[in-house]
């Protein structure tokens, strides 16, 4: 598969858009609107007019100003455009309807929508949503887009382990076999490979269908140790210890018996139908020195492997980070509390551990003070929704980010939050139900995720151009490039 942006439309008949375009019975199928509208909202299906693709509509104001407003041009007054009342039911504080819709659009087209939507920030009233870039009035230098480097280094220790550079400053968060459909996993893995970055197996084992992506895969060692074998650890170039997950920090989990299908059971070497548990803590790691031992263990199995330590954001996250560094980790991955996951107690998501926006500068500053910041790759996740979140996280002090939910949204997740109920995801993403999973094909999914990353990358390049930076690495810790709406 050649890597390029390809328009990849929704699997559904209707994509939800900001505007609702209604075609009345007065329509005589004259197709005048097809000519009028430059955005492709109207089209003819056979002899009749098709149901308008209203998600492409940019709204009356813009159209009027450009003299291409179909409603006014329709000779029969058959058209009507209003703000779509449905979007009230869509989205939430963190992922607003605008964010969902603009992400869908980017996944479809590989670029930002023409529609006036807030594609950079959500509506949570704090953190990333209150940060803005502070651009110089005139960029200090004009840098052509193709000269801008968005790659980051994952092994900064300079030891004998693999040297790995990824093409974009993000890789993918782990989603376990059994928690998402096979095609979702492969789609994501393929997109990661095309962008020369990494996918992650999650904690549910290393399914064979991911073997072709070995070089671009991270495998997880999590508290349940499911499916973790020497063989899987030796297969990859990066191993991730999942100490905690931001969305359910400090909590374990269980996979209910009826979710342990024959395939899931085989992968986790368990028995079909018997519930599976992950304990809260790593019972072999109760202290920093245990942690060091744990890292040494993985290196004993695969001496060249890079070790990433995925931790949540407790009050002493800076100590945890430096402890991980001293224990031999190459990557310290901070997972903030507002990120996504299959299913987690609401109380945990809301209350436990600090948002990533606080954790990044705290850890960055501490690592700088300790003089080891340039020896460790700091990765942030847990609430990275947009290209601008990526940039802000880096400006706050991260080297790069891990993406999870955004990729799901690219596959048309609506964040209905019902990942685990009943047969699983109604949109065929986070499900093992074969009938539901059929909704997604790998080609479609990989292209959608690829497109999203493409759009993100071009936004990143655009911001770097405005800041006059040649490389994303220059942005790390540059809080002077940011301003916060609550302060001056």
């Amino acid at each position: 598969m050649k890597a390029e942006i390809k328009r990849t439309a929704s699997r559904f008949r209707h994509t939800i858009g900001k505007y609702r375009v209604q075609r009345g019975k007065q329509c005589k199928s004259c197709a005048g609107c097809v000519v009028t509208c430059p955005h492709g909202v109207h089209f003819k299906a056979g002899t009749r007019m098709g149901t308008p693709r209203d998600y492409l509509c940019v709204g009356p104001e813009v159209c009027r100003s450009k003299n291409c407003f179909c409603v006014e041009k329709c000779p029969n007054s058959a058209l009507n455009v209003v703000i779509n009342p449905q979007i009230k039911a869509l989205g939430d504080f963190r992922w607003t309807a605008d964010l969902l819709m603009s992400t869908w659009y980017q996944a479809e087209t590989g670029r930002l929508p023409d529609v006036d939507m807030e594609y950079r920030t959500g509506n949570s009233g704090g953190g990333f949503d209150k940060l803005r870039f502070r651009f110089p009035e005139k960029p200090p230098q004009v840098i052509p887009a193709e000269d801008i480097d968005t790659s980051i280094e994952l092994n900064k220790r300079g030891d004998k382990s693999h040297r790995i550079t990824i093409g974009i400053p993000l890789y993918q968060g782990g989603m376990s076999f059994g928690s998402v459909s096979d095609s979702t996993m492969v789609s994501r893995a393929r997109a990661a490979m095309l962008w020369d970055t990494f996918g992650c197996t999650g904690e549910g084992g290393y399914p064979e269908f991911l073997y072709p992506f070995d070089r671009q895969m991270i495998t997880q060692v999590a508290t349940g140790l499911f499916g973790v074998k020497e063989e899987t650890i030796q297969r990859v170039r990066i191993v991730e210890f999942k100490y905690a997950q931001g969305a359910k920090p400090g909590l374990g989990g269980h996979l209910l018996g009826d979710k342990v299908t024959e395939r899931v059971a085989k992968m986790r070497e368990a028995v079909q139908g018997s519930a599976l548990f992950s304990p809260f803590p790593f019972h072999s790691v109760y202290s920093v020195e245990d942690h060091k031992k744990h890292v040494d263990w993985i290196k004993a199995i695969n001496p060249k492997v890079l070790v990433s330590v995925k931790v949540s954001t407790p009050a002493d996250v800076d100590m945890v980070a430096i402890g991980s560094y001293y224990a031999g980790a190459h990557i310290v991955h901070l997972d903030g509390s507002y990120g996504g996951t299959g299913a987690a107690p609401d109380i945990a998501k809301k209350n436990i551990a600090m948002p990533i926006e606080y954790a990044i500068p705290k850890v960055h500053r501490f690592l700088v003070e300790e003089g080891v910041r340039d020896k460790v790759t700091l990765i942030a996740s847990g609430g990275i929704r947009t290209a601008h979140d990526v940039l802000k996280a880096i400006a706050l002090g991260a080297d790069g980010v891990v993406e999870g939910t955004a990729g799901m949204v690219a596959l048309e997740c609506t964040r209905c939050s019902s990942c685990e109920s009943g047969r699983g995801c109604p949109r065929g993403i986070a499900t093992t139900d074969p009938e539901l999973a059929e909704f997604i094909t790998v080609d479609w999914g990989a292209q959608r995720v690829y497109n999203l990353y493409a759009s993100w990358r071009s936004q990143i390049v655009g911001v770097l151009q405005q800041l006059g930076m040649r490389s994303i690495r220059e942005l790390v810790g540059r809080t002077d490039c940011l301003r916060h709406l609550d302060y001056n």
């Binding site: 704090g126 109760y286 939910t405 209905c416 019902s418």
Partner: protein
């Protein structure tokens, strides 16, 4: 783990169709009658199960729809659309938001922890308890694994006066008489309800639940009746100092009593203790700017329990100025009591604004030993916080007719869920005894501090 530590839930469906969040609009006139209608393909069968309750004017689909948009997006003619049910948005008030009510209903129905996928959906932070995060242990300390009783995490507290230290005789026996203590397995007491049609049904529901989980409930002379007698072990009569009748029936056989604070409360306590030395006597003190000094005086004077109460939205009682929220006022009083070396000798109960399970550990971190819960109990019994009853109007969910057995189950379910959630948060903190959470500000993060240390340091001086 011994079974005596468990709380058992019983799924108990609501009597009335709950108000749902969703609002599906169906222009069925345009329907093409496809054979594979999107309605039939609904994963949750909400169309199949659709029912309309003409009593409450609620449509079941609003409560059952999970907002996946699949039907909306897939219907060929686009006959379906959806938005939000305005009735849902109208529920409750600025503090008791619709989400809190929904969340409580779910727990009262199932006894389970509300779980959802795809990450957090709420605001970054908020007022009151939302300006606070609890901590977790990681790498340097393990988390504890208490959920489902995998590991024993104690949530019990002792209500009463504690000794600063003990004296032993030569053979190691405790020398002094121990002050009486009432043990409750959960740091929750059922408070007097702020409003609502307090028929016998509701009181009996509360009493039944208190009995089942081994906790306590407050009862006032106005609502007390002989029907509560079988529950005397679980009652805390709440009495005014003035005209205290030591022989009142309400006092018979109870383990604990609470007096409304008045300047002469100490004399009153003495009378009560003289009559029944094994009675734990508490003082209910309004949370206002004077509470700090009074609490310290009472503690020094040997009072066993102080119950600080804020209004039902968690605000302190203060004229004019913006009131402090219960967590801030409580924290100040707790620290003051530590400074004057009496904190560990008294039990501090707090009430007002405790709406969600997370408020429990948060209040405890801020310095309470336990909390008294009010409105959530009523909500568990299906209250919609419409406050019609305050105006003397009928209750849309007929709370006056509630069956104590049914109500008891709903309340036990709610407490079971709160208990599990308390254990989750404590497990994450790495603490195995709720008594050790008390005042443990090291296991919490406050919005003001984080904001000041992070963004304040980065951005405020530019």
């Amino acid at each position: 783990m011994p079974k005596k530590y468990h709380i058992k839930p019983t799924p108990t469906a609501p009597r009335f169709m709950p108000v749902g969040r969703s609002g599906i609009i169906d222009w069925e006139e345009d329907c093409l009658k496809c054979t594979t209608c999107v309605k039939k393909r609904c994963l949750y069968d909400v169309y199949k199960n659709r029912a309309y309750d003409s009593q409450t004017l609620e449509d079941s689909i609003d409560y059952q729809c999970k907002n996946c948009f699949s039907c909306i997006q897939n219907c060929p003619r686009g006959v379906l659309s959806k938005t939000i049910n305005p009735e849902f948005l109208r529920m409750g008030d600025a503090y008791w938001k619709p989400d809190i009510i929904h969340n409580t209903w779910f727990q009262a129905e199932t006894g389970k922890i509300p779980v959802s996928g795809a990450g957090y959906r709420g605001p970054f932070s908020g007022p009151g308890f939302d300006a606070m995060w609890t901590d977790m242990s990681e790498i340097v300390r393990p988390t504890r694994d208490g959920i489902h009783g995998r590991e024993y995490i104690s949530t019990g507290i002792d209500v009463g006066r504690k000794q600063r230290y003990l004296k032993f005789d030569a053979s190691g026996n405790v020398l002094l008489e121990m002050p009486p203590l009432v043990e409750i397995p959960l740091p929750v007491i059922f408070n007097v309800l702020p409003f609502g049609n307090l028929g016998q049904g509701i009181l009996l529901s509360m009493a039944e639940a208190a009995r089942q989980i081994g906790s306590l409930m407050y009862v006032t002379p106005a609502t007390y009746g002989a029907f509560l007698k079988p529950f005397k072990d679980h009652l805390i009569p709440l009495l005014p100092v003035e005209g205290l009748d030591l022989d009142a029936e309400i006092l018979e056989g109870v383990k604990m009593v609470e007096l409304l604070y008045a300047p002469d409360v100490l004399a009153c306590i003495q009378q009560l203790k003289l009559r029944s030395p094994q009675l734990v006597v508490s003082v209910r003190l309004p949370l206002d700017p004077k509470a700090r000094t009074i609490a310290a005086d009472l503690a020094h004077a040997g009072v066993e329990v102080i119950h600080l109460f804020a209004d039902y939205r968690g605000n302190e009682f203060v004229e004019g100025d913006a009131p402090r929220f219960v967590k801030d006022a409580l924290r100040e009083i707790h620290l003051h009591l530590v400074n004057v070396s009496v904190r560990d000798q008294i039990t501090l109960i707090v009430s007002g604004g405790i709406a969600l399970a997370e408020h429990l550990p948060k209040a405890i971190i801020c310095g309470a030993d336990g909390a008294a819960v009010d409105l959530p109990l009523l909500i568990a019994l299906e209250c919609r916080v419409c406050k019609r009853c305050v105006a003397g109007k009928s209750c849309p969910v007929s709370l006056q007719n509630i069956d104590p057995e049914y109500g008891g189950k709903r309340l036990v379910n709610l407490m079971c869920s709160w208990w599990s959630q308390l254990i989750e948060l404590m497990g994450a903190m790495g603490i195995r005894d709720v008594r050790r959470v008390r005042g443990e500000a090291g296991r919490a993060m406050f919005f003001e501090d984080l904001e000041r240390d992070t963004f304040g340091a980065l951005f405020s001086n530019r």
